[in-house]
Amino acid sequence: MTGTSTGVFSGLRNWLLLPSWLVIGVLVLSPVFIMLVYSFLTKEFRGGVIWDFTLAAYDQFFLDRGLFGDEPPKMEWTYINIFWRSIWQALLATLLCLLIGFPTAYFIATRPPSARTVWLFMVTVPYWVNLLIRTVSMKFLIRDNGPVNEWLLATGMISEPIHLINTPIAVQLGLFYSYLPFMVLPVYAAMERYSFSLSEAAADLYASKWFTLWHIVIPSVRPGIIAGCILVFIPSMGAFLAPDLLGGARNFMIGSLIEEQFKGTAGNWPFGAAASMILLSAVLLVLLYYTHYQSKTGIAKN
């Protein structure tokens, strides 16, 4: 591609790329760089930083010196546990979205083309409403004397209200509901390109339905599934609306821990920046591993 002289826009190539580079540079790279620098600075009491370089923020993250800082340093699990809780929660939400989203996408892709548009439209309609409002509505729906419990009680299916609000299950429900289309849409896009005559061919060759699904459909739409998983996993990990509103904010999530450092009483900007950098590095590692794995299997296939 580089150095082609036949294209209409040849010669303009660098100029045409300039806006993208500006956007990436100004809006993506420079904030990350500022964050990286801040994470090594000394905190100023009640917000702000002092320009003295230190590792204090990372020390606080990884080492436990007791409440009064006078004990020999041990491994600090507090923040790692908060991260792990958020990661675990995001993994569960991703799995749940995949379990429901994959059949949904399959269903839509197998409808006649005119009907697909309607189904896709129906998947996206609820997302025209603000996320906050949808999460609050979920809270109203599932609380102890909310419509769901009242309906179940009235029909006699349960004799005691199911206690959902302020539990991890409620958080899962909220995340699942918030991010489902992020799974359905990429999987559907991949499924639409999948030629269903391959499934028919497999059936002609006596492959069972499960065999066809595992060995033909899923490998073909795998890029869509992986894209969907990433699109659900990453925002779920940083989510704080669902954990706060549906989980009762009893425990910090990554998102709320970092927010507290900037907006709360603590006002510890370097620590908030360090926690963000550690989160960013963790996500980057996962993505690097994924692209590495992708290219490897791609080569193996060829």
């Binding site: 009640r46 507090t78 102890d144 706060d244 009893r250 425990n251 910090f252 009483t265 603590a266």
Partner: protein, 344 residues
Amino acid sequence: MKRLFFAMTTAFLLVICGPANAAGKLSIYHWFEYIPQELLDKFSAEHDIEVTMDTYDSNEALLAALKGGRIGEYDVAVPGDYMVEIMSAEGLLDTIAEGELRNMGNIEPQWADVAFDPGRKHSIPYQWGSTSFTVNREMYSGDIRTTSILFDPPPELSGKINMLDSQGEVLALASLHLGIEQCSGDKEKLKALNALLQNAKPHWASFISDGAKDVLVSGEAAVGMIWNGFSAKARSENASLEYSYPKEGYLAWMDNVVLLKDAPNRDNALLFMDFLLEPENSAAVTNFAQYTSGVTGTYELLDAELKASPELNPPADAPSGTFVAVCDQATQELYDAIWTNLKK
């Protein structure tokens, strides 16, 4: 074409950069839903001043915005008691000279000189109230005038308690429960405070501030930590709610109008402060927000319902409220650690 463009740009720049200290303007930085629009309109009409207002949702957000470079943009703000002290220490406040406010004498004697702003050099009272908790009497009929309801609850209330998601207020109320002073650096006392919170947490269902009223009204929580005026509003929607004035003590707070440093319209800011010190105007705020004014002569002007409100009238034997204290950096870090430990 070029000339037209130039003319338009110049006109635009003149509009947005117009003289910032033009007479006839006032820029307020205020809490959300805390002042009736009619009152702002009245001030506008009386003094021929154009009023603009931005809002914030916490004292810390106010501080972060001003420290982040917005000082010099606003004339007045309305920080809580401890935040007045912090803002003053951070050099964000201007001094009101002797005699600059002609209604200074309208301040109630008990608020004329306060610890968070000695001599009222930077601030005037806006509204004050208390922070304690409210119990749904249909769910619990025992004695509620004790902080044990929150920190060592009877079995029937366990798991049905909402706390405010506010470090300062939760830790200060817990200190009152234990009878230890705030901002204590004493290791044994801090360990006891930490242990109290760790043991109480399993009994708490949630940490919700903005929905503190809603969880009580809906019955989602049987007990909820809450501000008195907010609790009065909750009671008007659910009659079985009762606000408690615990015998161990409860928290008091006061929001104050402060004169900001580098105020672009300093004279109008003073006019506005004098305006809010008129009993009639202060009463209008109180009738709207349902807390208590710090200005003399407002009581007669209050709505009858408000005068009789149990949330605003502590029982005769209740102790007086305690303000949240401002700790120094070293001590504050210990309290931050205890809070993180509670929510980890």
